[in-house]
């Protein structure tokens, strides 16, 4: 009788199960790129039109394949295998850094294979920085974080200025259940001051026991992590986790999607210190308060809105589990908007895990303003095509970059922070 043949399985165990818990291997990710081009387009089932079929702003803008995750896989493999060095070509700077690190390519790639191309791209930036140095346009940001623990070259004491007169507790002095982590941009921007005040006001109305660190708050580290200065990121991350743990807060909530994605995900990936607190985006907490009856959205706000999913709140907002849905904080903001009387919500074609980036992330806002604006204009065009009067979002980087682009438009569209719209309804 013929012996039944054993099943012939891959020799490399990483094909049998993606090694999510092992140290990341960038070469593995690059090696397994098959030039399928999924990183350039939104998932084909989701394509609703010719116009809005792309996922990668960098590839759409610059068009050469090098400006895509696929091209970066080729570059990574070439450098790792010794075929070229980071210093061989000045164009490498543009390929690596004229990218918003929005994770669109990463999300679409996860649709067809177990891989983490965004991690590979972060590794590339880190390697480039170590060998070549920080980009000159990014150096002021790095210096600001080193010297002032914020990205805006502002004195630490200014972090408190928005909260003047609001009597918000200091959790170092008075126990708080919730820490409102304000973030550098909401905390220090004059333009966005009203929004963060509204956040605090709404939390008060919802009778949330919360505090802020004020001038003692450190940057979450997102901007330096995105541009490859990992040492600074690790310093900030460790300090923040230790601080939040020491405060004994149950929840850390943040109105900035960048902070949310960083403290929620990046900290777990890079830092071994355990977090003893829950991480929420402000829209998640607001939704809970509405569902619990603690906030009542009664006033009519007649607005036709479309919702922009910030990358770090959406596809980069939850941990990656191979085979599981790319969850993110998609529904809470939508539920809030739908609950506001008078608001009509229109959806853009590219939403949730296949949302088009605002253009403000990855250091692009600082170093490549034209590209940041170009990306934003595409998003605003998409928003206008829904018939909405305004675009709403919940990230200060999105608000700033989209807001700047709107200023240059002939036929403008409005922009609102979700918090501000909610405030109008309370």
């Amino acid at each position: 009788m013929a012996k039944k043949k054993d099943m012939v399985l891959p020799k490399d165990p990483r094909y049998l199960k993606y090694p999510i818990d092992e140290p990341f291997d960038p070469r593995w990710t690059a090696w397994n790129c098959s030039r399928c081009s999924c990183c350039k387009w939104i998932d084909s089932w989701r394509v609703k039109s010719w116009k809005y079929a792309r996922i990668c702003p960098q590839h759409k803008r610059f068009m050469f394949d090098a400006f895509s995750a696929q091209g970066k896989c080729d570059l990574a493999l070439a450098v790792i295998d010794g075929k070229m060095k980071w210093t061989d070509d000045p164009k490498i700077k543009d390929i690596l850094f004229q990218c918003t690190m929005c994770g669109g390519c990463d999300a679409m790639d996860k649709g067809i294979r177990d891989a983490e191309v965004l991690k590979m791209m972060k590794w590339m930036r880190e390697q480039y920085i170590n060998e070549v140095g920080v980009l000159p346009d990014h150096q002021p940001l790095v210096d600001s974080v080193r010297n002032y623990d914020n990205v805006w070259i502002q004195p630490r004491t200014r972090r408190n200025s928005w909260a003047k007169g609001m009597e918000i507790r200091d959790p170092n002095k008075e126990k708080a259940e919730v820490l409102l982590f304000v973030g550098c941009t909401y905390g220090l921007s004059e333009e966005l001051k009203a929004t963060i005040k509204n956040v605090a006001t709404i939390l008060k109305k919802g009778k949330v026991n919360f505090g802020i660190l004020g001038s003692k708050e450190l940057c979450c580290g997102s901007p330096v992590e995105k541009i490859g200065v990992v040492s600074e990121f690790e310093r900030l991350a460790k300090s923040n986790i230790e601080c939040f743990n020491k405060l004994g807060v149950k929840t850390v909530v943040m109105p900035c999607a960048g902070c949310f994605g960083t403290i929620g995900q990046e900290y777990d990936e890079r830092i071994s210190v355990k977090k003893n607190f829950e991480v929420l985006h402000i829209t998640e907490l607001f939704e809970r308060l509405i569902d619990d009856g603690k906030l009542k959205l009664k006033k009519e706000v007649p607005l036709k809105l479309t919702w922009h999913d910030p990358c770090h709140q959406g596809r980069l907002g939850r941990p990656y589990v191979p085979g599981k849905e790319l969850e993110g904080v998609y529904e809470p903001p939508r539920n809030i908007l739908k609950a506001i009387p008078g608001v009509e919500l229109y959806e853009m074609e590219r939403i949730k895990e296949y949302s088009w980036c605002c253009g403000g992330g990855g250091g692009v806002f600082t170093a490549f303003k034209d590209f940041a604006q170009w990306t934003a204009l595409e998003r605003l065009e998409e928003a206008k095509d829904t018939g909405a009067q305004a675009i709403a979002t919940s990230c200060p980087w999105c608000e700033s970059n989209l807001g700047n682009a709107i200023k240059g438009m002939e036929e403008k569209i409005g922009i609102h922070s979700l918090t501000d719209v909610m405030m109008s309804a309370l």
């Binding site: 043949k5 099943m7 012939v8 399985l9 891959p10 020799k11 490399d12 990483r14 094909y15 049998l16 199960k17 993606y18 090696w31 397994n32 098959s34 030039r35 399928c36 081009s37 999924c38 350039k40 387009w41 998932d43 084909s44 089932w45 989701r46 394509v47 609703k48 039109s49 010719w50 079929a53 068009m63 050469f64 394949d65 090098a66 895509s68 696929q70 091209g71 080729d74 570059l75 493999l77 070439a78 075929k83 070229m84 061989d88 070509d89 000045p90 164009k91 490498i92 390929i95 679409m108 649709g111 067809i112 294979r113 177990d114 191979p322 085979g323 849905e325 790319l326 895990e353 296949y354």
Partner: protein, 519 residues
């Protein structure tokens, strides 16, 4: 290429199409040097330049520069998987079509679209669906170039109705290797009419069509009119859930999937004939068992877990997948259901268990209408390979598949575990069939190199016996040079066309046939 020559050509290109549309930097070239196989298997080389012309006239200018300076060029569509679009010799120029990304026109009444090379299948689908129309889609993913999907292979999930891709080509605008612009079909007579593919003389589409087409060996098509077909589906492709676990269910009153199991490949093929003769269904396929898992699994772990458990081997080996479409009405769907159920009974087929149907169909089946997951074929082992791609009758596919299955068994390992690796498709209601033996392979240079050698050995052995049914045509010129003299000297025809159309031998040599420059 020496620096002085490089500089002269670079300046000429930049003057012709703009400085920002020409690249020669090392890091950019690196993104164009590889095909889908790992470096070290086919050893492609770096290009010298990559250009982005914006249309026919700029493409013509680039090609004329290539002629002047004797620079081989390769036209690129989406470059997905890139079988023969990676440079094979130094000093090559890439004509990248990314700025030619327009759907120029959709004529709803006459049911055609005019597209440029960097428009994807998904984009055309989306616009066509809005207008009650559709087209085919390669299972290798709908983010591939729609134009390329019409000239290369064109094995579509819906080929049962629409035929292979190249049957749907109408008029074209085409830049020849010598830089002349050719318009074919009704386009040659008028800018306004592009819906008619034939001309008054010989049908020039024949030069581009074939199992694998001309592979860029006869210039570059910059605009193409393609047939669209009436579609009973919704204006938006239905999709629920989130990556990687989304599902799609088309309206049940117009679309109905059946997965019917048979005990042997012969019985499955017979059922396909019966269904074809009855002229029902929009999709009719017999997939390799691995296809069910390749497209379905959302992770490597899920793939190998269900494979090791034998889920797919037990339930879908030799299964025939049918999607009935109520093209004209719900009544048509009801009618076709009745016909199919009779055929299932007569051919003693058995529907797969409901549990497996519910597990697989919503998550996967509609990939064969608008594909999005073809690249999942790479997931569980990094790559796959194919053996023998005959285009002949459905029945002739059986013998080819049987030999293929034996070959796969013989060379496993390194070929990984798979079961009934036979893919048989129906085209034009069974007027012909195509087959492919597909199998997973671990992506390492050793295993791939080993299998590539064995595949080449098999190809040469086939030729020595006068058999043509392999993947050879997909290699293009190198294969035709070997096979031409064996099969009625077709190589002479290809060589003659090549010499006439490409006297300087610069259009993706050695495609579509290796010839020498006359001087």
């Amino acid at each position: 290429m020496d620096k002085e020559r490089h500089a002269i050509i670079l300046e000429a290109l930049q003057s012709a199409i703009g400085k920002e549309n020409v690249e020669d930097s090392l890091s950019v070239m690196m993104a164009y040097h590889r095909d889908w196989l790992p470096p070290g298997v086919l050893n492609p080389t770096l290009p010298e330049f990559v250009t982005l012309p914006d249309g026919t006239e700029q493409t013509q200018q680039v090609i004329k520069i290539c002629n002047r300076y004797n620079v081989p060029f390769i036209p690129l569509g989406s470059s997905q998987w890139s079988v023969t679009t990676a440079p094979n010799r130094p000093g090559t120029l890439i004509i990248d079509s990314k700025r030619m990304n327009d759907i120029v026109e959709i004529d709803e009444k006459n049911m055609y679209a005019v597209i440029e090379p960097y428009v994807t299948m998904a984009q055309v689908h989306a616009e066509a669906n809005k207008r009650g129309l559709y087209l085919g889609s390669p299972e290798a993913s709908a983010q591939a170039s729609a134009m390329a999907g019409h000239v290369f292979q064109g094995m579509w999930g819906v080929g049962h109705r629409l035929g292979v891709g190249h049957r749907n080509i109408l008029a074209m605008e085409w830049v020849l290797p010598n830089g002349e612009i050719l318009q074919t079909g009704s386009w040659s007579n008028s800018e306004k009419t592009r819906f008619f593919g034939e001309g008054p003389g010989t049908d020039l589409r024949g030069m581009l069509r074939g199992l694998a087409g001309a592979l860029g060996g006869i210039g570059m098509v910059t605009k193409m009119a393609i047939k669209l077909h009436p579609y009973p589906g919704p204006k938006e492709f239905p999709c629920e859930g989130m990556i990687p676990n989304h599902t799609s269910t088309l309206p049940p009153e117009r679309f109905q999937w059946y997965i019917i199991k048979y005990p042997t490949l012969e019985k499955a093929a017979h059922a396909m004939y019966e269904i074809s003769t009855a002229e029902i269904a929009g999709v009719l396929q017999k997939w390799p068992t691995v296809y069910y898992n390749w497209w379905w699994a959302n992770s490597n772990e899920e793939y190998w877990k269900t494979w090791k458990e034998g889920v797919w081997q037990k339930h879908v080996k030799y299964a025939v997948a049918v999607c009935l479409w109520g093209f004209t009405s719900e009544k048509q769907l009801d009618y076709e259901k009745g016909v199919l159920e009779d055929i299932i009974e007569e051919t003693k087929g058995k529907l797969i268990p409901q549990e497996i149907y519910d597990k697989w169909v919503p998550r996967t089946a509609n990939n064969w209408i608008r594909d999005t997951n073809g690249s999942r074929m790479m997931r569980p082992s990094g790559t796959f390979a194919a053996l023998r791609l005959p285009f002949d009758t459905i029945n002739s596919s059986i013998d080819v598949c049987r030999v293929g299955a034996d070959w796969v068994e013989k060379f496993s390992p390194p070929i990984l575990d798979c079961d009934a690796p036979d893919w048989i498709s129906s085209y034009d209601f069974g007027h012909f069939g195509a087959a492919e033996t597909d199998f997973p392979l671990e992506k390492n240079v050793e295993d791939l190199g080993d299998i590539m050698q064995k595949l080449m050995g098999m190809l040469k052995e086939d030729l020595s016996h006068g058999i043509e049914g392999g993947f050879g045509p997909f290699l293009g010129g190198a294969y035709h040079a070997m096979a031409g003299s064996i099969f009625y000297n077709y190589g002479k025809l290809l060589g003659g066309i090549k010499k006439a159309m490409d006297p300087n031998v610069i259009s993706n040599p050695p495609q579509n046939y290796p010839v020498e420059r006359e001087d």
